[in-house]
Symmetry: C2
Subunit: 244 residues, 2 copies
């Protein structure tokens, strides 16, 4: 009788810039908001607005709710004009959520993996409801088995404890899982420390291979579709090391 | 030479259920949110969800941000399932904003008044940005000259001081203005106390004439389009009383 082929028990996928092109969305949404401010009557050069907005988002973090308030205060817009302008900007920002799409090869790749009975988990840093919104608007919630977000587990994704907690919750051993993500510091290194397999996705050139990756034997793929070839290779290695 | 005809200097219009069919929007948006909860996996009877949600909104006020949180807690939905469900509900609620339209006769009536060089002001109770959003999404921000909201002026609309502050800001005498609204307690009585003219709109049967109105000589119209005939009558009366 043929021996049953070893399979990974969990494929964990980061959301931002791994499954979904978040950087593209953010750029489109910010541009839309800046245009709305100008069309609403803000008479400041577009480049100046954009530059200041970027700095404010950097300074206060992307999950802070008052970026436009600070921007208009800094630009000395009278108080009684701010609510209208901010509402224009907010509506335009939210309308841009129509462009929250997965990367082109993500839906077909996940469907193939699902057909092969793999368990797919979204593992992400961020506010739970913001991350859920991205999955729901891009329809990925239909194919993902479960979701683990840093906000719910009370760790940052730079902490291996975040990944250990997920393993505990799923009752899985680290080497039976692979973590796929675009960030070395948040997705790859802390997951690797727990003993998980990792795949660094070089999406859109946001991240480049560097020397340390080669030294640490971090495997990378150029795009999610390459999972289809990469996973059997990982399975062969895990099978040899842990199940021979 | 013909005498210049007297004209009112300001037409002030309430937003909710006067310019915009807010009750219809709220009903559609809540239904959409309840459906989203059910399709997201909530296994509670639709009527029970709706009844509880209504009670919670009544209890905490419509501007409170955590209605769904309380609902799911009361319905004993496990904590780890709530973020997904709440995000489903919130997206559906916000998508329903597509139905934020003015009453059918509002755009053409306001355009006629604008052509006659009347100043049109939106005067409303509520959170400024929420009210601005209604005006912007229904395109009424394009024709309204200015907006006065209770949140910005720090009075409730039941206080004549709210209306007196608006008169001060515009530098107008009360009898040169008319306030148009659907609520006796918030739009009509406090405006009348300041000396403003008032028109009670009986939109969609939300409000009915009662005995006290007849006694107080409160004028009413059935629909915004009737402004076209009602305003000259008010002007004639004001002209006789104050400018003869």
């Amino acid at each position: 009788m043929a021996k049953v082929k070893y399979k990974l028990k969990a494929i964990m996928l980061d959301i931002d810039n791994t499954l979904i092109d978040t950087s593209r969305f953010v750029s489109i949404a910010r541009d839309a908001a800046v245009d709305a401010l100008i069309l609403g009557g803000l008479t400041v050069e577009r480049d100046v607005i954009t530059k200041n907005l970027r700095r404010i988002i950097e300074e206060y973090g992307s999950n802070y709710g008052g970026h436009f308030d600070i921007l208009l205060e800094e630009l000395k817009v009278p108080k009684e004009k701010r609510n209208k302008l901010i509402t224009y900007a907010t509506i335009s920002y939210h309308n841009a959520k129509q462009v929250l799409h997965p990367f082109p090869d993500v839906p077909s790749t996940l469907m193939k993996l699902k057909k092969e009975k793999y368990n797919l988990y979204a593992v992400s840093e961020g506010l739970s409801r913001k991350q859920w919104e991205k999955l729901i608007r891009s329809n990925l919630d239909r194919i993902i088995d479960d979701v683990f977000m840093t906000e719910d587990l009370s760790f940052t994704s730079k902490e291996p404890k975040f990944y250990n907690t997920i393993l505990e919750k799923l009752g899985l051993k680290a080497f039976d899982c692979v973590m796929v993500g675009d960030r070395m510091d948040k997705d790859i290194i802390p997951a690797k420390i727990t003993g998980m397999n990792t795949l660094h996705v070089l999406t859109r050139g946001y991240n480049k291979k560097n020397k340390s990756q080669k030294e640490d034997k971090i495997f990378s793929i150029n795009s999610i579709s390459e999972l289809i070839d990469a996973i059997p290779k990982i399975e062969e290695a895990v099978s040899k090391e842990h199940y021979h």
